[in-house]
């Protein structure tokens, strides 16, 4: 017994070398690196069009709804399920908004709340079947996909509704107002800088907190390097946006949501429980976790986010069409898997899903600029998804 106690170091975290640390976390860095490589590739291939301020603004607007839905989808996938109905919910929410705002002239604020509530109900209904009746999510949401697609066709009667009032459009096409009046949007730049400073402040505080308990795991050079990169990337992006029309409203919403969901997923008990549920449902249940309720809430949450995405998409298009959101579920699911989520559940990060969404987004955008046909685009996207998951399996086997 005596020699055993000697083998236990007093510190909490292992003091690993730089190389070991990178090897253990290579998947996370590989993901971010892939995004950068893809961006640089298209920047070169498009002769610098990709990084033009206007295009960056476009990129954010185009992908906002995918990112918003990826946040919810990641939680669903981590919990060990799937949701195929989100694209149809986007369409139906758009149809609802179209009919209520354009035809019935309801107040768009009221409609906004109404649509979000509808999303919650739709998500809850599907969640009920999955969580309590134990019907496989694939089947339930496949049904949901057909039902909501059909309902949106029915509500719209085969036509499109538009245009929407300006106030509603601001949701997707509005920008943070500028108070300086110069061509360069200083207000946006200041906000971006402030947020970057806050992020770095929290990171450093967390680091000190860890060190106080001797729990810091990440080697210092990586910590510094990573945060400097984050700060530079953040400021540069803000600079590009500020030189165009400023920070889009939807970017602010998106950023707030990403922060919230990343926090919930990693730092709250509910997040921890979802990961445990996906990792081993039986063990989670026997540890006193109400797994059914958790699954139910994951789907409810997905419904709300799909409804929000539907509103953003409708506002951006300034029209409610029956074809809205077609195939969105696939982009969203692909984003999660490219971002490192495991198809068997229990593994995946919010940030990963966001980066995954932007990888898909940048590829869409870059290939469109290059004039690659929609046919070839799909082939390439499919192969990238397959490659990303293969890579994941490879790393998992090595670890």
């Amino acid at each position: 017994m005596a020699q055993d106690s000697a083998t236990i170091p007093t510190s909490g975290a292992p003091h690993v070398s730089l190389g070991t640390y990178i090897r253990h976390n290579i998947r996370d860095y590989a993901l971010l690196l892939s995004l950068i490589v893809i961006m640089v590739f298209f920047e070169v291939a498009t002769n610098g069009i990709l990084f033009r301020p206007v295009n960056i603004t476009n990129l954010v607007l185009q992908n906002s709804y995918i990112v918003i839905m990826a946040l919810g989808m990641l939680l669903i996938i981590v919990a060990g399920h799937i949701d195929l109905s989100v694209g149809s919910i986007v369409a139906f929410v758009g149809a609802l908004a179209g009919v209520l705002i354009v035809q019935e002239h309801w107040n768009f604020g009221l409609v906004f709340l109404f649509c979000i509530a509808f999303g919650a109900v739709a998500g809850a209904a599907q969640g009920f079947f999955v969580a309590y009746l134990k019907i496989p999510a694939f089947i339930v949401t496949l049904a949901g996909m057909l039902v909501f697609r059909g309902l949106s066709l029915y509500v719209l009667g085969g036509t499109s509704y538009g245009p929407f009032p300006t106030g509603f459009q601001l949701l997707a096409n509005g920008f943070i107002p500028d108070f300086f009046g110069a061509t360069f949007k200083w207000t946006s730049m200041l906000i971006g800088t402030a947020v970057a400073a806050i992020i770095i402040f929290f990171k450093i505080r967390e680091r000190f907190n860890q060190q106080k308990h001797d729990l810091a795991e990440e080697p210092l050079p990586i910590f510094i390097g990573r945060n400097v990169l984050i700060a530079i990337g953040f400021l540069w992006l803000t600079y590009l946006l500020a030189s165009s029309r400023g920070l889009p409203n939807v970017l602010v919403i998106m950023f707030a949501l990403i922060t919230l969901y990343a926090f919930v997923a990693t730092n709250t008990t509910i997040g921890r429980r979802i990961y445990a549920l996906g990792g081993n449902e039986k063990a989670a249940r026997l540890s006193g976790i109400r797994t059914n309720r958790l699954t139910f809430y994951a789907f409810l949450n997905m419904g709300v986010l799909a409804a929000l995405a539907g509103l953003v998409f409708t506002a951006r298009l300034n029209s409610a069409t029956p074809q809205a959101g077609l195939g969105f579920e696939l982009d969203v699911i692909a984003a999660c898997f490219i971002g490192g989520a495991s198809p068997t559940g229990g593994v995946g990060k919010i940030i990963g899903a966001v980066i995954g969404a932007f990888i898909v987004g940048v590829m869409n955008n870059g290939m469109s600029i290059l004039g690659v046909g929609i046919d070839l685009q799909q082939v390439i996207k499919g192969l990238v998804l397959l490659a990303a998951v293969c890579l994941d399996v490879y790393y998992k086997r090595k670890a």
Binding site: S5, G12, Q210, L215, T269, A283, L286, G288
Partner: protein, 531 residues
């Protein structure tokens, strides 16, 4: 460790006798040894089965019976074990099950290998279809099935779907399937475990009939009375060795004789000393009844009453399938079964244990039998598993306090001596013993008063077992009540203050450990079969 194997082979398994009988032996397994990482499952086992006999194999759980049969049937291929297998006078080196089936060795496992949604005929010829160029001749298949069913005395249509007939009949279908493959040696692993008495009798009569036709059988069973009814010879395994061989025709053998060989093992100081003094009853279960989780008409747990005191370790002894796990899980928040009735009392007051959370709030913790499937989130690290059942204990307003979690995990790592690189290590990479310590940590962190430990040392090596015993003792000494479920009787005798004996869902005996012995427990169980 002293080499006990040689001792037994020489004194109790005379080699000369085997030599003289070799002429009419259909199967000879000689010097079979098989190791798994950390465990030697079989040590120089010898088995000789004569042509046209029923050969019984008995032994406690974990004695090596199933491993031996897996070696024989090719589940563990030639080369993965030591020793020789001779069948019908030739040495055989099976690569897989198909190899052994090909020459007529057919094994029927305790868990039947039938496809529930297929018909009897389809199941009998599964993988062995009567077909020309891949096209199945259903007429021939049905005709042949009818013949086979007649042989086993089963009056069912070949087109009957498997899941519409009872377990006893399914067992007969398995045997018919074996007959369809021209069986020479039929191995039955606990065939009557889930059969009622008349079905069991019919099955045993069938074995006798096969014997008359010259088909040999190996019968593995816990029910010694059944073995004695039909077996010509009995081989007894203990701790992976052949310890005895009895000829039932030459001498008068009774259950006592077999039990003596089955359990005749010395208990050394494999169990650390405990200095606990059981005081008041903490936890009590009254008139507990549970029905099967799927088949509501099957009454699994019948009027169970038990109690456990502060600082006491009680053991629940029983054979596999006695209902111990089902009982424990049903008490722990109804996590098993349906139509559950009965009363749970904590400190003499009724408590609500109707959900897992309520059971936990009442102060109960249940360490599951299968730690990989039910105990751990294997892809998560140690700290995540330790905090899983008590996330509120490391969080404020649902926000997890990460440093606190690590501190808690490190505390248990130290207290329970979990060997790992850090608490960030994934539990999938830990050894069985350390995994079990993580599961124990998880439950200790919930602050329970009563711990139900279900097979806490299954599949872990001797050293880690000793450590787990130490932890159990420390828990009892700190005033916790421990309910220990174990299939290893020496463990129960070494660790418990009091032992309940469970069989067929009932408590059939209760005794202080001073009065208990393996023989007495085995007798109580065997006797309860007769009631």
């Amino acid at each position: 460790m002293p080499e006990i194997t040689g001792f037994f082979t020489v004194s109790q398994f005379p080699y000369l006798e085997v030599m003289s009988e070799r002429m009419d032996a259909i199967l000879e397994m000689r010097g079979i040894s098989k190791s798994f990482p950390g465990v030697k499952a079989l040590k120089d086992v010898n088995l000789s089965v004569k042509a046209g006999e029923i050969h019984g194999i008995v032994g406690e759980n974990g004695a090596g019976k199933s491993t031996l049969m897996k070696v024989l049937s090719g589940v563990y291929p030639h080369g993965s074990y030591e020793g020789e297998i001779h069948f019908q006078g030739e040495e055989r080196k099976f690569r897989d099950i198909a190899d052994s089936e090909h020459i007529g060795i057919i094994i029927i496992h305790q868990e039947l290998a039938l496809v529930p949604l297929l018909s009897i005929a389809e199941n009998i010829f599964l993988g062995n279809e009567i077909a020309t160029a891949g096209v199945i001749d259903w007429h021939a298949a049905f005709r042949r099935t009818k013949e086979l069913l007649k042989k086993v005395g089963l009056n069912e249509s070949p087109q009957t779907q498997i899941d519409t007939i009872g377990v006893g009949k399914q067992q007969l279908v398995e045997i018919a399937k074996a007959l369809s493959k021209d069986v020479k040696l039929l191995i039955l692993d606990e065939p009557t475990a889930s059969l009622n008495e008349s079905d069991s009798d019919a099955l045993l009569a069938l074995l006798k009939e096969f014997r008359a036709q010259g088909i040999s059988s190996i019968l593995i069973s816990h029910k010694l009375n059944e073995i004695l009814k039909v077996a010509d010879n009995v081989t007894i395994l203990r701790d992976g060795s052949t310890v005895d061989h009895l000829d039932c025709r030459a001498e008068r053998i009774d259950e006592n004789r077999i039990i003596k060989s089955m359990v005749g093992r010395e208990i050394t100081d494999r169990y650390p000393e405990r200095h606990a003094h059981p005081s008041d009853v903490i936890f009590e279960v009254r008139d507990w009844n549970v029905h099967h989780a799927v088949h509501a008409d099957r009454h699994l747990i019948k009027n169970v009453n038990l109690n456990v005191r502060k600082g006491e370790v009680i053991g629940i002894a029983g054979l596999m399938g006695a209902g111990r796990t089902e009982f424990a899980m049903s008490v722990f928040g109804r996590s098993y079964g349906q139509k559950i009735s009965g009363q749970a009392l904590m400190h003499g007051k009724p408590v609500d244990v109707s959900t897992i959370n309520r059971a936990m709030d009442a102060g109960i913790a249940y360490v599951t039998e299968d730690r990989k499937s039910y105990g751990l989130v294997l892809i998560d690290d140690i700290k995540g598993n330790v905090s899983l059942a008590n996330l509120d204990g490391i969080s404020k307003h649902t926000v997890v306090d990460a440093p606190r979690e690590i501190i808690v995990a490190n505390k248990y790592r130290k207290d329970l001596n979990i060997r790992c690189s850090s608490v960030f290590q994934q539990t999938v990479n830990l050894s069985g013993g350390n995994q079990q310590k993580v599961v124990l940590s998880k439950w200790l962190f919930t602050g329970p008063e009563v711990l139900i430990l279900d097979e806490p040392t299954r599949g872990i090596d001797v050293g880690a077992k000793y450590e787990i015993y130490g932890i159990i003792n420390a828990l009892a000494e700190s005033g916790k009540a421990v309910i220990l479920i174990s299939s290893e009787m020496p463990e129960l005798l070494g660790m418990s203050d009091r032992i309940y004996i469970m069989n067929d869902g009932r408590i059939v005996g209760e005794m202080p450990v001073e009065e208990a012995s393996q023989e007495k427990i085995m007798h109580t169980i065997m006797k309860s079969w007769e009631d």
